[in-house]
């Protein structure tokens, strides 16, 4: 293991332990790590955007390949900075209008064809027994879940009587969904902790053992 690798592992271990130290209480190590992370991210993003967007997608194609028309999106991008001036902030609306129109055009089709219609289609299930009792029960749950949940989000009439009853069933479905989300979220957060513990045990402690052996 080289000196650079040792330094990298020790630095990583210091940052990890500093962040975990907040669980006990706030302290200078945690603060330093938090600020270093914010500064590093900002610097990295600036460098990356400069390289991957401004240079690679605008300046290089303009000067190397003669795609002169790329100055138009470039100017639209520069216009966004007019938001910093109260007097000229209206100019940025030109760029925003372009972004909004473009985004709406792309997503209108993809959201409708890629999400809304296929999802609607997948809830239109046969409530027959041709695929067995299990499929029938699942189909009933899906159909009941979709209808009752949608009913819960119908606010044009007061949730009373039959409408109220169906909406209450919808709440149960939503609650079960929240429970599943909570369970998965716990798993996600514990996974991150496991990842750090595995790093500290195998890499960091491993490097210490390696150093003395």
């Amino acid at each position: 293991m080289s000196l650079i690798e040792y330094t990298q592992i020790w630095l990583e271990a210091f940052v990890t332990l500093s962040l975990f130290s907040f669980l006990y209480k706030d302290n200078p190590c945690y603060k330093i790590t938090e600020h270093v992370f914010a500064g590093l991210s900002a610097g990295y993003y600036f460098g990356l955007i400069w390289h991957a967007v401004i240079l690679q997608q605008m300046i290089d194609p303009m000067f190397d390949n003669g795609k002169w028309w790329l100055f138009i999106p470039g100017i639209l991008g520069v216009l966004m900075f007019s938001r910093f001036s109260q007097k000229y902030s209206w100019i940025s609306r030109l760029s925003l209008a372009f972004v909004m129109g473009n985004t709406a055009g792309i997503f209108l089709l993809s959201e409708l064809h890629g999400k809304v219609l296929p999802q609607m289609q997948s809830t239109m299930l046969s409530l027959g027994f041709e695929n067995g009792l299990g499929s029938f029960v699942l189909a009933v749950i899906v159909v009941a879940g979709v209808i009752s949940t949608l009913t819960y989000f119908y606010f044009s009439r007061e949730h009373k009587g039959l409408l109220g009853g169906v909406a209450r069933v919808g709440i149960w479905f939503i609650m079960i969904s929240f429970g599943a989300h909570f369970g998965y979220t716990v798993m996600a957060r514990i996974s991150l902790l496991i990842g750090r513990v595995q790093f500290l045990y195998f890499d960091w402690i491993g490097s210490i053992i390696n150093l003395f052996s």
Partner: protein, 295 residues
């Protein structure tokens, strides 16, 4: 060995009960942190293994990749930040094991600027070395390009227009593997490993508009939302969090980081379930006691 295991479990239960008792007694949540930390660290130091059950969505993804003919072209994405490596990297590892084992041509790419390109480079090179795969012939790393919607849509027409060069600056026209790959039409399967909503666009743009089968590896936080896409047939299987990765590793018979973490997962989950039940019992007992006093 069995007696040692029984002692280990009794020890775990006693520690959990003690820390939970201390939490309720002192009202200090740091005992909970300590318990969670203990249950995570213990199985890493002392080897404890709990069985891993296979989920249908993981099996579906495994079967879909397994059914690909040898030498198929697969696009593998590294759409995740370094902060979720613990969940996502085992998925990328498992996917590459499977793809290289089947001699698939792998095109990797990322829509994540922070770490994505270097993670893709490191993981792919690591696995390629194990399977003696050659860069440019068996795999290519396209790297990162800004504006993911434009990237995803543009690759439907021409990958080379979006990525004139690979991650290290070599023109795609000079890479032998990319000579036969023009757009999504030349890609047999897309394996998306992601920790953000980019998956929506892989489904709503690439699957819906270009009919490419899309299988995913997602962080656990995202997983419940995407089950609907499996039901509708828009997604060909899914790995949900570390558990999904561990199941895929099990199917591949290549237990690695995710398998190692699953015992900690199970122990922490058991502790949390027990804490929720105990907390509720104590809450209701306290309520009952108060109402008796006021009566």
């Amino acid at each position: 060995m069995t007696i040692l295991l029984i002692f280990a479990y009794i020890f775990l239960i006693l520690i959990g009960a003690l820390l939970l008792y201390m939490t309720f007694k002192t009202d200090d949540r740091r005992y909970i942190y300590l318990a969670v930390g203990f249950y995570v660290i213990f199985p890493v130091i002392v080897t404890l293994k709990l069985p891993i059950m296979l989920s249908p969505e993981v099996k579906q993804l495994y079967d879909a990749v397994e059914a690909l003919p040898d030498s198929s072209t697969v696009m593998l994405t590294f759409d995740y930040y370094p902060s979720t490596l613990a969940e996502t990297e085992p998925m990328s590892h498992a996917a590459l094991h499977h793809l290289f084992r089947k001699n698939c041509k792998v095109v990797t790419m990322t829509t994540i600027p922070l770490g994505g390109p270097s993670i893709a480079e490191r993981v792919t090179r690591e696995l390629a070395e194990e399977y003696n795969k050659v860069y440019g012939i068996d795999f290519v790393n396209l790297g990162y390009k800004a504006n993911y919607v434009a990237v995803l849509k543009g690759m439907g027409t021409s990958i080379e227009t979006i990525y004139p060069t690979d991650n290290s600056g070599t023109p795609l026209s000079e890479i032998p593997m990319m000579k036969d790959i023009e757009n999504y039409g030349d890609i047999d399967f897309i394996f998306v490993v992601a920790d953000n909503s980019i998956v929506d666009y892989w489904i709503s743009i690439v699957n819906a508009q270009y009919n490419n089968p899309v299988g995913t590896g997602l962080t656990a936080v995202m997983a419940p939302r995407y089950f609907a896409y499996i039901g509708s047939g828009q997604m060909t299987g899914m790995l949900g969090g570390m558990k999904g990765a561990a199941e895929y590793e099990t199917l591949l018979q290549k237990p690695a980081a995710a398998n190692m973490g699953m015992t900690s997962q199970s122990l922490v989950h058991l502790f949390i379930i027990f804490s929720v039940i105990a907390g509720n019992i104590i809450f209701f007992m306290g309520k009952k006691g108060k109402s008796r006093k006021s009566a």
